[in-house]
Amino acid sequence: MSSKSVQQLDRVVIRFAGDSGDGMQLTGDRFTSETAALGNDLSTLPNFPAEIRAPQGTLPGVSSFQLHFADHDVLTPGDAPDVLVAMNPAALKANLRDLPRGATVIVNIDEFTKRNLAKVGYAENPLEDGSLDSWQVHPVALTSITVEALAGFNTLSRKDKERAKNMFALGLLSWMYHRPTTGTELFLKNKFASRPDILEANLAALRAGLNYGETTEAFSVSYEIAPAKMPSGTYRNVTGNIALAYGLVTAAHRARLPLVLGSYPITPASDILHTLSGLKRYGVTTMQCEDEIAGIGAALGASFGGAIGVTTTSGPGVALKSETIGLAVSLELPLVIVDVQRGGPSTGLPTKTEQSDLLQAMFGRNGESPVPIVAPSSPADCFDAAMEAVRIATTYRTPVFLLSDGYLANGSEPWRLPSVKDLPDLRVEFATEPNGVDAKGQPVFHPYLRDETTLARPWAVPGTPGLEHRVGGIEKADVTGNISYDPDNHDRMTRLRAGKVAGIADTMGDLEVDDPSGEAEVLVLGWGSTYGPIAAAVRNVRNTGAKVARAHLRHLNPFPANTGEVLRRYRTVLVPEMNMGQLAMLLRAKYLVDVQSFTQVRGLPFTTVELADAIVGAQTVSDNGGTA
C-alpha cells in the first residue's frame, strides 16, 4: 500500500447507519463477507425499522448494521461501535449515544443540509458547533464524490448515481481495514447481471471509495486485524434463519422423509419460508397458506401423511396456532413449530428481538398439553437445534417448539460446516403390521399402544393396509385410541403424555457447566440467544480474577436431568433473560431454588458491560452471604 501507516488491532466494532433506503444492510453484509473471507471471527447485528421505507431522513427511518470482528473468538456483535458510518443527520443522532468518546465517525456531509438537520431536531449543524469534539469526525462528501466519480455514466440519472454511495462507503471502509473486495465485485456482477450500466457504476463507486482512502489526507492510518485462530475446517458466514432452514432440510434428508412447510409470512421468520421455497430440489414442499392456523394445519396434515411437518412463525402467529398445537399433542404426531421471537405483546416490536415467548411455548394451550422446547444459542447453532427439534419430534411423536429470536435470525457468524454423513441418523420406522388382537383373537392395530422406552405411539401412515385407524382431538382410550370419556383413562392419558415429554431428558444429555476453577459461587445460567453476551461477560469478569461459572440451557422442556443438582451447587444463580424473568419463574417453580433474575426488554441483545456489571453485583451479594 502507500506511505500511510498501518496499525495492528485485535478487534473492531463498526456500525453502518443510514436511511432504510440507503442500502446499509447490504453494505454491512458485504463488509461481513469480506471480513469472513479474511479469516476474522465475527458477529453481526442488523437493526432496522418495521417500516419498509419510513419517511426519508427521519429518526424512525434509520437502519443500521453492526459488525464485530477480531483476531480471536468473538461472542457478541459488540457493545459500542469503534467506528460509526452515518449517512445522514438522522443516522448520526440516532446512534451517537451508543458511541464511546474517542470513537471514529465518518459522516456524509452532503446530507447535512438545513432541511435534513431540522428534520431530526438539530438547531445547529453538529459538525460545526463543536458538539462532536469528543469524537474523531471525518466529514466526507460521500454523495457528491460518488456522483463525480460516475460523471462518465451518461445513461444514469443523478438519482441512480447517488444510490451507489453505499458502495463508495464500503470501498472506503474496505481500504481502512484492508478488506479484499473481490467477493463484493463478484456479488455485484451476479446481482446486476442484467443491468451492465448499474453494475459498472457500482464497481466504479467501490473503487472510488478505495482510492479515496488511499489518496486523501483525511485518512492517515489504516488497520489490520489478523485472522482469528479457529478450529480447522471449512467455514462460511451464516445467519440464524438460513442455518435454521438448512437444519430442517438436512434433518429431513437424514430422516429420509419429505419436509413439508406450512407457513404464513411474519417478521422476523419469513426468511425461513423464502429460503425453503427455493429448496424444492431437495424435495422440500412449501405452502404459503391463508393464515397462521392454516399453516400449521397443512403441516400437521402432512405429518399425518408421513412427512416432517414444519410451521414457521413469530409470537403472534404462535397465539393463533395454539389450538392446532394442542391437537398435535393429542394426535401424538411429529411437528416442528419454529417461533422466531420478537418484542411483544401484540404486534409489539416486529423487527426487534426478545425472549418473551418461553411461557407461551410452555403453557400457551388449553388443558395439560406438554410440548418439548429447544432453543438455539447462536446463529450457526440454529442448524443443530433444528436437527435436534426434528429428532425429538420424530422419535417421540410430538410437536416440538424451536425458539429462535430476531437477534439469531438476522445476526450472523462464521459456521464450521459439518459433514452431512457424520450428522445424527434420524431414520424412523413407520408401523407396518397390526400390533394387537381383538376380543375374537383377530389381529388389530392399536394406534395408542406405546413404545415401552420412549412412550411414543406408532406412526402408521395412510396407505398402509390393515392399519386403518382414526385419530382426533377427543380424549383417546389408552392403547385402542377409541373415543373415551372415562375418568381413569383421562387421568392415565394425561400422565402418559406428560411422562413421554419428561422422558426426553433420557436422550438429551446433561447440563454442562463451565467452571474452570471449580470454586465459583456464582453460576450464570442462560438460554437461547443470550449465549454470546453471557459468555463474553463471564470472560470479562474472569479476566479480573473473579471466579464465576456459566451454563446454558438448550432444552427448556424438559430440563436436563441434572439441572436441579447444578442449581443447588452454587450460592447464587443469576439468570439473564430478554424478558421479565420467564426461565427464572420456571426454575423457581420446579426446583425451589431462589434464582436471581436479571432482565431487559429493549429489543436488543444484552451488552457485555451491563451483563458483567450484573455478574459482579451478584458476586458481591454472594460474598455478603446471599442477601441483598
Binding site: 478450529p231 480447522s232 413439508v260 424444492k280 396434515g301 393396509p465
Partner: protein
Amino acid sequence: MTTTELGMPGSSPRAGTASVPRLPEDADTLTKRDFTSDQEVRWCPGCGDYAILAAVQGFLPELGLKRENIVFVSGIGCSSRFPYYLDTYGMHSIHGRAPAIATGLATSREDLSVWVVTGDGDALSIGGNHLIHALRRNVNLKILLFNNQIYGLTKGQYSPTSHVGAVTKSTPLGSVDQPFNPVSLALGAEATFVARTMDSDRKHLTEVLRQAAEHRGTALVEIYQNCPIFNDGAFDLIKDREQQQARLVHLVDGEPVRLGAEDDRQVLVRTKAGLRFVPEGEAADDGVVVHQVGADDPAQAFAISRLDTPDMTHVPMGVFRSVARPTYDDLVRAQVDSAVEKGGGPATDADLERLIHGRDTWTVA
C-alpha cells in the same frame, strides 16, 4: 412483481382418483361392511347424518380404490364425528380447520383420496377462511358440507345458514344475520365443482358423490341434512312428495332448467329483470336458460344459485358447476418433482453439502 408461465400439467383433465392405487382387477370387491368401523354410531335418533353415512359407506366400494388409501378429515360438530364410523384412515380435527389439514395431506400425498366432512357452522363460520381458500386453490379434496341450518352439538344456536328471523337459543327475538348461500359462496370463491343434494334422496346423493369423486380438484357438495332435535323439518317443503315437484329444480347439464310436473312444466328464462320461471309454452326459445356445468364463466351458475329463497319456492339441486382447472396439489408436486429431476434425482449427501456450503467458504488449516 413478475409472473412466469408455470409450464405445468393440467391441460388434460384426470379423474379425481387417478393417482390413487386401485384394488387389483381379480380382487374381491369391497362392500359397505368393509367401510363400517367397529364404533357405535352416536348421533340422535332420526338424524340425517345416518342416511348420509349409509350412502357414503355404500358408495365408497364403487370407487374400486384400496381402502387404506382413503382418508376422511373432519372438523368439529355433529357431522364431524363421521370419520369415526368409517373404517378408513381418518382424523377428527379441530373446529373449522379440516380443509387446511386436508390441504397439507393431499398436497404431500398424491396417492390418497382425501375427503372432508364438515357442517354449516364448521365450514362457513369458524372455518370460512379455510373453505374459500381451498376452493380457490382447487386442492384435490372432496368436501361434504352437511347443512342443517343450526348448531347441533352446542345445542341449538343459529348458524351462518339460519334464516333471518330464526328463533334459536341465542336469538330469542329472531336472528338478524343475513345467511350465506353455500353454493353462491363457493361459486364466488372460484370453486371448480359445486353441487347440492339432500340426505333423504339416496340415489341423488350417490350420483352427486360419484361426480364429485370423479372431479379432479376441490369438489364442494352441500348436503341438506335434517336435525330432528334443534331444527326439525327445515327441509320438509322440499322433502314432501306433493310439494317437492313444484319446488325442486333438478339441474341437468345441457338441458333447459325446468321445474314442475309434466302437465305444469315451467322453464327458466332470461328477462330484463333477471332469471325467472315461466310456463314452458310461453318461453321464447332464445330466452331459455340451458344449464352448462362446464361453462368457464360461473355467472349463469351463480344466477341459478340465487333462485334459492328462504321460503324454498325454487330450490336448485344437482351439479351447478364442474370445470377442469389444474389443481394446487398437482402443481406443487410438479414444481418439486421437476426441480428434483433437474437436480439429477433425489438429493445425496454431497448435494446437501453443496447447499450448506453456499458460494462463499474459507478454510482454516
